[in-house]
């Protein structure tokens, strides 16, 4: 299963990634973080195809998808 990495230092909680994910693999977190942002989190990563749209559309370079291939290495 692909893994989601959110950098909490960089993410400002715009949630563009949650919206653009074609497979709806992400969801907003339930809790607000210390900076007042709601960060994205994994919803059902089994749906993630690793298309990378969330990475390409992230304004803050805060998201990364680790595919299964990469994990094996």
């Amino acid at each position: 299963m692909n893994r989601l990495h959110i950098n909490p230092k960089y993410c400002k909680g715009c949630l563009i990634c949650v919206d653009v994910c074609p497979k709806k693999a992400l969801k907003p977190a339930e809790k607000i973080n210390a900076k007042g942002y709601i960060l994205p989190e994994e919803d059902d990563m089994s749906r993630c195809t690793g298309c990378g749209l969330c990475e390409v559309m992230c304004p803050d370079f805060a998201i990364a998808i680790e595919t299964e291939d990469q994990q094996e290495r």
Partner: protein, 279 residues
Amino acid sequence: MKKHPMLKYMKETGPQGDRMPMIMCPGCGSGQVLNAILHAVDRLIQEDGARKENFVFITGVGCSARLTSHYLNFDSGWTIHGRTLAIATGALLANPELRIIVITGDGDTGAIGGNHFIHVCRRNLDLTIVCINNGLYGMTGGQVAPTTETGISTTTTPYGNTEESFDLCRLAEAAGAPFVARWTTAHPHQTIRTLTKGIRKKGTAFIEILSQCPVHKKQSPVQMLKALKQGTARVKPGEPPVEGKIPIGEFCNLDKPEWIQSYQKVLDQFSNHRTPVEV
């Protein structure tokens, strides 16, 4: 933890401390545009074997300008409001090998730098201009811009904008730029493709990216991206625009003499030529 793939081109930290996160407001389109530009540059480095050292990013002043403000692991200049293209001209004169990417905003290009903009397009200098158009002045708090639509209220048009707005792509084309395109922050893959083409283009490539300012337009980034998608329609060269939609796409890609190359012919002919100064 795996990092965002484009962070390899960013200076996350330096000898005197961390530089990121970037200063942009949450959901600002500028970061998305930088993301797309870095993807395009990455492609040129990987696919064309372009020399990373030759890429130079130049910005002026405004939200768009902050993109080069010490974040990039490239040569860059965070310069003067509106003057980016004049500075880029100087850099190209000094070193035509440089691949200059000027990131500007609609105020930078359409207002204070308008004169430099039309003349760079006229000369057809080999550089890429990426204009992030959010339709207002964000950095100073949401004032009207030359690209603000008629009727829109801003802090300096409290009763609505009574002026007509600029179509920067038509301006660039009329001024002579051979490569002109427009996309939005909702079209990342198209943007990356066009940017790659534009940077490869020998000549002035003007690429406008319609972008969102969630803060001053008081809407969520997600909503605004949807509006950008719905409010625009792809138009191919020669096709008429779709009624009620802002045209997007690659509008022209012409072959024209690039100025540095034209001047090189003068250099080749006269650099060994000695016109004596009158004694």
